[in-house]
């Protein structure tokens, strides 16, 4: 039964990765990237690498999403030149 969950998570990871690079809005790309990080965290934990999963959950999904959003809030939709 575990391989079903494994393959479902892998499928969702691929869908999130494709969506993150194809979506046009930067904010939604960041949020999808956070979802991708959490799914990767699930995969690491399922493969037994709890330490890597912990790092992925704190750095990948937690802090880097906040830093991306903080950087995006200083951008504008159209370039000035």
């Amino acid at each position: 039964m575990i391989w079903l969950i494994d393959e479902l998570t892998l499928l969702l990871v691929v869908i999130c990765a494709l969506a993150a690079i194809t979506v046009k809005d930067l904010l939604s790309a960041t949020v999808i990237f956070g979802v991708y990080s959490f799914l990767m965290c699930l995969l690491w934990a399922e493969m037994g690498a709890v330490d890597v999963a912990f790092t992925e959950a704190t750095v990948g999904a937690g802090v880097s999403t906040v830093l991306f959003i903080a950087a995006i809030l200083h951008t504008s939709r159209r370039s000035k030149d």
Partner: protein, 159 residues
Amino acid sequence: MKLLQERTAKLKLGESLIIQTAVRIMVPFIQLFGLYVIVHGHYSPGGGFQGGVILGASFVALALAFDQKFSMQLMSERVNGVLGNLGALIFVGTAVLCALFGGLFLDYSALDKLIPLGPIGWRSFGIFIIEVGVGLAVMSIMVSLFWDIGSNGEMDEGL
């Protein structure tokens, strides 16, 4: 005890009483969990890096829910820099001290000549000192990264 309307009337745009109260309650527990992860790093998942990121994330949450000035009152820029450098100093200082006492770089069992705990005890205790140093440095870097990116490098308003 002011009325809720009076307290919320003075809030700026984007500040919410619910989020502020939730962060106020959550931040001590987040910091306690970060300390737990650092201290238990050598025999359970986690360690200095993850615990430092969790400790830094608590200050990031404060800066997000309140003002950046509020989080800089709790931990000023000078204290942040001192903590980060202290973490790196603990890491390198322990490693160099091992080399000075006749072992290799980061070979904790050489510190047995300084305080007799036994080589095995020092191998367990030395990694704890290293984790504390890494945790302090990572916390400082995470907080200053957010302060710099959030305020465009000016350290005044923030998000």
